[in-house]
Subunit: 395 residues, 2 copies
């Protein structure tokens, strides 16, 4: 039996990503496909690179989207920068720091793992201890915005520390980019990667990256080839950058229509203004937080270490994680995220990313959670919670 | 200055891919994004796997799209199947065979390279010589449909040979899938990868793969971890296949909207019927060939080794490659492909892939080429060429 065309339900996406995608981005995806070497496509790629530089706050020449999801952006940074035998310090405070460790060992690096508690920022003192103990370290890596816990680490401080000990830095900004302050040049971040499907409000599948001159110099000085052909920046660059004659070498076929979507999403971010987008995420975070707390729910992360765009909430005792998420989805088409790793079954992750960070979404989330928790016998005051949220939104 | 929304020109894509994308596929891309763990999305993924099995003619459980372009599909097969020290025989008759060699060495394999002339099928005698000389070989790899030259190799025969010498096989079917016969189970292909943007008429960015039990057994028996985290099939499988409890582990965020497009494209192929699609490509190839030959142009590949979907044509003496392609694009929005590698400047590559394989495209290509060649002083009879093509189309 042949299936029929897939007609997805219309959901509100308040999980850890993908976030809601604006209709302008969706319709950009449907524009006619052109060749990946077409001069008009090449001109659009140049615009994407410029728009990404604005979003990353960088002048880095090597700023571009990898043609694959965020985890391939992570792998791009690690397989290019880590040479076999390099000592790499990875600060771990959630799932994605753990994934960085996997990347280091698979690239032949010597891993020094520095754990901070889940739900907390990376502890700079522990990083400094590790730097002192491992003067041979070449690279420090950490996650600015831990999507698994909602903790925000102080990238400026951590990068400063790493540089004092002569290390390059790799920063995961998958959930940060477009949602909370990120100053790639201002903080001296050497290599950074992000994802299209979080605060950029684009569809999943692309990983913007940016590397500075120091990072590029380390790649060019490699004695061993990059283990991945697909992610080898020496080759990718030949496609994404033109030589003097404006001729591009063929590397792989770029995901043309996905890039239409990214172009439109970045355009919308630039139209709004980056700092205004950060402020919007912050204001909506306060409103959601006030509403959730009025429902009696507690945020996992201490106030001064919270990401505005990803709110981890402790699941109240006696409430079944999966049932609540299922009811939210079935009744109200509302998706929130489950806990990952150590947090599985213990927290919900409520995202306010990009186009999902809207007043109407905050009210839907509070009212739907309130209604279901009451039904499950929790006795919560949804009226008060909505009033709290509304007050924060009106400020 | 903020750029404006990108409005691509409407091209006719008769290069080596991407091919024209059907409006049904384009509009599928623009459907609302849902979560990659949403039960409705998971159900659609199951349909994609079934539709891919139909297209590949296989029952392989491990049949799925890699979330990245065709070259990442290639890398997926090599980094999972090749262990450091494995001897791998690669048959090279064009650019993509050469890329396979890169993959082998980067994966730590010992490469045995067997060259056949560009523009010709892989020579089975040379493969057999190599198999005899290298009884330690574990894997044989080759390209069924060499997109750089338009040559079609005999996959059934080559796989049979490899198996006789106890080797697994990796087959590049990027340009083959959906356009010319491919019998994954019938020919015993152990691992195969393809691309979304060729004869499937989907947008670029996804790489369908299929591996049989023997290939999976080799991956499971590895003594070393797969060098890539992103492409490690042991991990990807946890996401793409459910365990008994229908629970999926999170690996990476799937490119949701791109997969809507692939679902629709595979649906259209199934509606047409795979064998009818092969026959359409073959008939249109004959019509294009007759027209081009009537224009005085010569196909590069001998008749019995030609791919119907990719026609490499020798550029007539005195005609400037780039000027003709530029005029076709600027005047008629018609894209044809340049030569790659050894064929750069010497051949044009004219694709008839998927939705590009239409009678109207054949007439456009012949009439536009005829008009431009006449303008350049070549004196060709476009009337006769169109009559030849029309005759072949009416049979």
């Amino acid at each position: 039996m042949i299936p029929t065309s897939f007609q997805p339900p219309v959901r509100t996406l308040m999980g850890p990503g993908p976030a809601d995608v604006h209709p302008r981005v969706l319709s950009a995806l449907a524009r006619p496909t052109i060749g990946h070497l077409d001069p008009r496509f090449v001109a659009m790629m140049e615009e994407i690179k410029d728009l990404l530089r604005t979003a990353f706050r960088t002048e880095n020449a090597l700023t571009m989207p990898v043609s694959a999801p965020g985890s391939a952006g992570m792998e791009t940074c690690f397989v290019n920068l880590v040479e076999p035998g390099d000592t790499v310090i990875v600060c771990v405070n959630g799932v994605f720091g753990g994934r960085m460790c996997e990347n280091v060992t698979r690239a032949g690096g010597k891993l020094v793992r520095v754990d901070s508690p889940w739900g907390r920022a990376v502890d700079p003192n522990r990083l400094e201890d590790a730097l002192k103990q491992h003067p041979e370290a070449r690279i420090v890596a950490f996650v600015q915005a831990e999507t698994s816990t909602g903790a925000s680490s102080d990238t400026g401080q951590l990068v400063g520390l790493a540089h004092r000990y002569d290390c390059l830095t790799i920063v995961d900004a998958v959930t940060a980019l477009g949602g909370s302050p990120l100053e790639v040049d201002g903080w001296g971040v050497d290599a950074v990667y992000a994802g299209s499907q979080k605060c950029l409000s684009c569809t999943p599948g692309l990983a913007p990256i940016s590397l500075n001159e120091r990072a590029v110099a380390k790649i060019k000085a490699r004695e061993t080839p990059v283990q991945s052909w697909f992610l080898d920046l020496n080759l990718v660059l030949g496609y994404w950058t033109s030589d003097g004659g404006n001729r591009r070498s063929y590397h792989h076929t770029a995901p043309v229509n996905a890039l239409y979507g990214l172009h439109e999403a970045l355009l919308m971010l630039t139209e709004e203004g980056l700092e205004k987008a950060w402020a919007r995420h912050q204001q909506h975070h306060i409103a959601l937080r006030d509403g959730l707390e009025a429902l009696g729910l507690e945020l996992v992360v201490p106030a001064d270490e919270r990401l505005p765009q990803l709110n981890a909430v402790s699941i109240p005792g006696g409430v079944d994680d999966a049932s609540v998420r299922r009811l939210l989805l079935e009744r109200y088409n509302l998706e929130i995220g489950a806990g990952l790793g150590d947090f599985a079954g213990k927290v919900w992750r409520i995202g306010l990313m990009g186009f999902s960070s809207r007043a109407e979404n905050i009210l839907l989330c509070i009212s739907a959670l309130g209604a279901i928790l009451n039904e499950l016998g929790q006795r919560v005051d949804t009226t008060a919670a909505l009033a709290q949220a509304q007050q924060a939104l009106s400020q």
